[in-house]
Symmetry: C2
Subunit: 471 residues, 2 copies
């Protein structure tokens, strides 16, 4: 990613703010989601580490400026002025950021990131910040749903790279899927970059490359005796299982063991039950049954309810492409401005005709209240007063949902590790009220807005239509 | 992307092939799609340039080998053997590739890429090749559908980066959307890297940052008089249009002109018609009406049929995330092997229980036949004989769909430019039979398989169940 990983209008507005002497106004933006995805009751925040890396590394390179210099407007003349392009690489791009920690369970409408920066900078980073946060949060949520259904004791493996939306659609999906609860990925680069456990054995083509399935199975077991899961459906599943049992015997004789078999097509319910019976008859109770084949929440739930004998679920396409949602409706809104030379923040507001298209005004924070047992009770969205203190809360308890992360570009403390984020996600989903955990019919989100913030909205809405222009 | 941008099982199989002395067997793989996406009658091939770049640059770096060395199996011992990891960076990774040119209209089941390489190499690249080709083809197809509905004379702008699936899900989507027919993107990095035209003006936040909408509009027009499209729905659309007209007057006095207004919410049919009337009354017939707001094929078709007054369609999320499909069911199958020391290719076959899960055997090619006016008539999938010549075709006319691109890693000729690919796509979609262009109810794909290839399939299917293992 680069400083040009953004929408052109962020740069045209940047020139506008700069030309109007407004670029150093202090601006407060917040990111929120319009709906929790997949018609579910919650989302799992993810992607903060990549947001922070992007913000800390942000700068304009000479070739970026050169490219912007080459752009022309409708009259063929340059789109960007020379003096602006000379000023752009000199600007201080540092931002302050408060954010929900990765793995936190969150809801629609509440601020999840608050970015305070010079107006020009806060605007410029809208697109990349949304890109990173939207997608990872979407996939972490999908993974949490899948793991919630598959649990307990039936881990979910992510292997979506081949059908992911671009290589980063695979790489960052593997990361987010791990935050959401998957135990491993097939994506080797994700393992290398993020330390996520990697898993994988062989494909149909391995079996095809040998003269017979028994020969292929034995050859695989010999080359990788400590990682042997055999795919049994290249030709005929029943025979494949018999061939896998024969290979298991060969491994036993060498003091190793067959880890599992994999089913990738056909009726997974009948096949898995038949396979379990046959493996048990053969004394191979500890050989796991792994399945794949376009699995998603519905298929896993149906297989579990019908009593399928499955130990590990491999989920690819539906997980990394977030099937059923495709995109998270994350939005990034300007909510307050402190103009250069002024002392006070002005709340700003966007009136919206569509659902969720109106914004909240002010410098925003969320207070999360939990019950005695740690269960999530409610979130209250509120504004900060001029001193930066909570304003309008009726209960001084609870904890701030948005935690300071960057102060003028400086990282305040190391971010939690990926494993810590994964633990948070597991704990958070478990702490939700049962009505919100239900993946098929969930209750309303426990999110409130303080009375004083609602009054502020009403005041600004009443004045939203500015006076008609005087000639 | 790196050599580790792949599934772990490609590497475990690589070690297996190497250990069994099979890694230098010559293998023929082909990529095909199981279904044309979006329930549509065609797909538009895209992504070949990135596939070629990946293949030409492919190599194992020392840190990749170091990472693989760190992986352990179920017994805690190394997953990969030291001798294999020493041999891996020394292997020749060159491949031969024949492919459909970007922009070509293609159908389910037919080979779209044919890769011939040492077995180990052909296997290793399966995942990244699928990742690149699947996603770009999916988005190019979506774009072609959107442009087909919006045409003629109503161009489609892509602006999906903020909700794309990762930054490459935005970048490569912008490229593929351009191949499919979009005229420009908002993604500045895509403009910089690929030379795609970029477009963009301002967001709601620009208007919010000023004391009034007229002040914001005038300020924008002054800073960017040759790129002024005003977003009129921040507060009230009717007032917004009046304010835009006033700004248009200001621009006229300076010898410039307002390019357009943008509507981003509410009833786009009523608003666009009212806006057109009002702009025309004001003598601003040439001010374009641009719309955005979660548009997709259905909404555009409904707005066009109802007589909306829209000049430019901005499409974001649904385009770059390929809403309605999410992933292309592209698969990569081993279809023939010539073992080391042998002279003949052996066709190989995978029996499949699920729809489209069976593969075709042999070294495959497709012959495309066109009518006198250039209209596409039929594609015939066939195998090459040992001399590499077409086998079993009943008509010697037509042209090969798969064109040689790489010969042992060497690029045979420069690839067509992005603009050439875009022209091909436009011509190809126009050349389809009307029944296949219909986006709502299309006819069957005009794809046949030669009788001799079908007989080969039957022979291999009859023998698919290998003999039971003799004790």
């Amino acid at each position: 990613m680069s400083a040009l990983t953004t929408d052109l209008y962020q740069l045209t507005m940047a020139q506008g703010y700069w030309r109007n002497g407004r670029h150093l106004d202090r601006a407060s933006f917040y990111l929120s989601i319009r709906h929790t995805p997949f018609d579910g009751g919650f989302a799992v925040a993810a992607g903060l580490e990549q947001v922070v890396e992007f913000l800390v590394d942000l700068r304009f390179e000479p070739e970026d400026i050169e490219y912007l210099r080459s752009l022309a407007g409708s009259d063929g003349r340059p789109l960007f002025a020379r003096d602006f392009l000379e000023a752009l690489p000199q600007l201080d791009l540092a931002v302050s950021l408060a954010a929900v920690p990765e793995g936190t369970a969150v809801f629609a409408r509440e601020p999840l990131l608050r970015i305070e920066a010079p107006l020009l900078v806060g605007q410029l980073i809208e697109t990349p910040v949304l890109n990173i946060f939207n997608f990872q949060t979407l996939v972490a949520t999908k993974a949490a749903r899948l793991c919630h259904i598959a649990a307990p004791g039936q881990p979910v493996l992510e292997f979506g790279l081949r059908r992911a939306q671009g290589f980063d659609g695979g790489l960052s999906a593997s990361r987010a899927a791990y935050v959401g609860g998957c135990f491993a990925t097939s994506n080797v680069e994700a393992g290398q970059r993020f330390g996520i456990p990697v898993r994988g054995t062989h494909a149909h083509s391995w079996v095809q490359a040998f003269d017979s399935e028994p020969e292929a199975f034995d050859a695989f077991a010999e080359t990788m005796p400590n990682n042997c899961v055999l795919l049994v459906d290249t030709y005929d599943v029943e025979r494949g299982i018999e061939h896998a049992i024969a290979t298991a015997r060969m491994l036993e004789r060498r003091g190793q063991r067959l880890l599992g078999i994999r089913l990738d097509s056909g009726d997974l319910l009948l096949q898995s039950r038949a396979a379990r019976r046959r493996l048990n008859e053969a004394g191979l109770e500890d050989v796991a049954i792994v399945v794949s084949d376009n699995l998603d929440e519905k298929k896993i739930l149906a297989l579990r309810r019908a009593g399928a004998a499955i130990d590990i679920w491999g989920v690819g396409t539906s997980l990394v492409t977030a099937a059923g949602a495709g995109a998270l409706g994350g939005v990034y809104k300007l909510s307050a401005i402190r103009r250069c030379g002024e002392e006070w923040w002005r709340p700003v507001f966007k009136f919206g005709a569509g659902v969720g298209k109106a914004s909240l005004p002010g410098r925003l924070q969320v207070r999360r209240y939990r019950g005695a047992a740690g269960g999530l009770e409610r979130d209250v969205i509120h504004a900060l007063d001029e001193g930066g203190e909570a304003s309008g809360l009726d209960d001084p308890g609870g904890l701030d949902l948005l935690v300071p992360v960057l102060e003028e570009g400086r990282l305040l403390a190391p971010l939690p590790s990926l494993d810590a984020a994964r633990e948070i996600a597991g704990r958070e989903v478990a702490s939700l009220p049962p009505a919100l955990q239900d993946l098929e019919a969930h209750g309303p989100a426990p999110v409130e807005v303080t009375a004083s913030l609602m009054e502020q909205c009403d005041r600004l809405a009443a004045s939203h239509a500015p006076p008609a222009r005087s000639a």
